[in-house]
Subunit: 410 residues, 2 copies
Amino acid sequence: MNAPSRSPLAQAFPAMPAVRGARFATGASGIRYKGRDDVLLALFDPGTTVAGVFTRSSTAAAPVLWCRQALKGGKARAFVVNAGNANAFTGAAGMAAVKATVAAAAKAGGLPKGAVFVASTGVIGQPLEVERIAALLPGLAGRASEDAWGAAARAIMTTDTFPKGASRATAIDGAPVTVNGIAKGSGMIAPDMATMIAFLATDARLPSDVLQAVLARATRLSFNRTTVDSDTSTSDTLLLFATGAAGNKPVARPNDARLKGFREAVEAVCLDLALQVVRDGEGAGKLVEIRVAGARSATQARRVALGVANSPLVKTAIAGADANWGRVVMAIGKSDATLDQRRISVAIGGHAVAHRGGPPKGYDEAPVAAHMKGLAIDIAIELGLGRGTATVWTCDLTHGYIDINADYRS
Amino acid sequence: MNAPSRSPLAQAFPAMPAVRGARFATGASGIRYKGRDDVLLALFDPGTTVAGVFTRSSTAAAPVLWCRQALKGGKARAFVVNAGNANAFTGAAGMAAVKATVAAAAKAGGLPKGAVFVASTGVIGQPLEVERIAALLPGLAGRASEDAWGAAARAIMTTDTFPKGASRATAIDGAPVTVNGIAKGSGMIAPDMATMIAFLATDARLPSDVLQAVLARATRLSFNRTTVDSDTSTSDTLLLFATGAAGNKPVARPNDARLKGFREAVEAVCLDLALQVVRDGEGAGKLVEIRVAGARSATQARRVALGVANSPLVKTAIAGADANWGRVVMAIGKSDATLDQRRISVAIGGHAVAHRGGPPKGYDEAPVAAHMKGLAIDIAIELGLGRGTATVWTCDLTHGYIDINADYRS
């Protein structure tokens, strides 16, 4: 098949300053793709701490199983990512491939194996030609550079049509700190996880348990509020590496007031990346924000919002720029959240389309139809029952999604 | 838009013998469609009993709310169905429209209002021009016939590409009994409900509580095992009318051995109709059967099966005839059922594609790829944990679904 064309919602790759103590190099394994880099080696200075969140899939890939174990040590020196083969549902051979990758990276960098993290993304259920990856690693270790964030973001892409990066500057107790992140999508994206592969690096000096708390909260506020197609990957991996090069004073608790800026920076980078993943959702033509208010609880609000975000009929109506708000009502109604349809109101693009159980008086579809033609669709739902709120983001469901997924083996 | 072309999985409308005591007439209201009948009036002889199951949506349409009440009486004399406007999320005006329809049908047939049932299917959230329906009913009542099953099935269609009917002959305690049914799909189809609109009529003589138990079980075994697009309609209605004309001896308990043949006939008609709805799923090109065995419970097996059946990535792979079994594993894994990936095996078309956590030894994709090119796709999943089993049916996700739903306002 032809490569999918660049998403109309694509963003330019941002300027990414170096994160002191974090270096990158990329190479081409030839495992699946031709003429592009598909292996990333990230190296971190001694003292780097790490946090991570992973897919909740029961068929999690071998690299995820490895990372969950390695995370217990709280220290990281290297991260190896390959794109094109997910090394998922590959049984004992899959774990052997992970260990071979880890051993090769440890040898290339002179590192302890327990400080090497691995992620794989691509086709599920195919044996990984790990020797092609291992052969690259000594060369990559020799040329890793702090200035290769763009190359890193490109090397981990699969069906992505643009590389995804985000950066924020902040400070901890007066010491300047950088938070960078990159991510890849772009199908098999659903919440209750991280996204497929994303990682952040910062020069902050923080213990791993503090990092973990900051990252878990940021995940809830970002990746776990997005969905492309309701399918949860076997390989979702989100890692946060902190090199400590900023030399800030020690902070031992995640809710320490001195970490406010850092928490916000991590949350902002995660949300930026998560929205870029949605903007590059397979076949995406429109970015859709769904806000639910008035639910009995935040959990119920999120459930309603995700029901709307994952509804094929809502997503195809948006693809067709059809102001068919009845489908939004349908998707609300199928939720098992507590609902009273006589209290439900819906606005699209700020225009009321349904008011407490029926069409609003004197409803004029024209401004709603105009909004539906845009690239950013806004759906606000009021349930009228309580104070629970939630916001989620998704994209539309288009011919492009069928093109990509009826032909591309991912 | 052009009307969708006839499903490649379409079935011919079967021979439908008369059900004594059940008469039908159809007419054209002009509310939404041009040049076709879109209103059905069914009339039942005195003594007809009725059972029903309905959508579990919290935004159930006004006709559903009416039928739930009317069902408490257990008696039916008429059923009015209109296609093109669902009279859903239409507030107080929607219930007034239902009552106007009921009043018109009651007057036309000289019937008690509580014995008139109503169903509407089509666009959600638009006021129903009920006077157009009411104006037709006297004429329809005058020409209703026992031989109009085909016309009835055609009149209730929306995006359906073929009319759906099924018939079985059975006996109760020696008395011959007929069970007929018709249904319409073909999007907004997901389980935990009936389908959009279906009804059965039989000449059996049975009390309504017995009918209800038989119908509830049949629904679990048929409609609730199918899904087209995971979206649950506001209007799902399944009714079973029993005219009593067969004159069989009284039977007071649903599990009476004398009802075995009748139960099986109702179940067969429901399953036949449910599979026809899937065969006509919007854009469907292939009928997919998913069988799960070895789950901890039947409930968990069904959850896994539905996760696979509703996965956009599985459904698009099937549309593309891609033997991409990794997506099946992904869809199994995202379920919250108890799983151990080292025990999971998958077969497609009878060929092992995954065996206890990884690819089978010497895996040959050729016969699987050949099976994927067919019209009937068979996926068997063994979880290796217990004795729970489930079977569900779905269709693939194609460009046709996008065509229909990005343009058609349903």
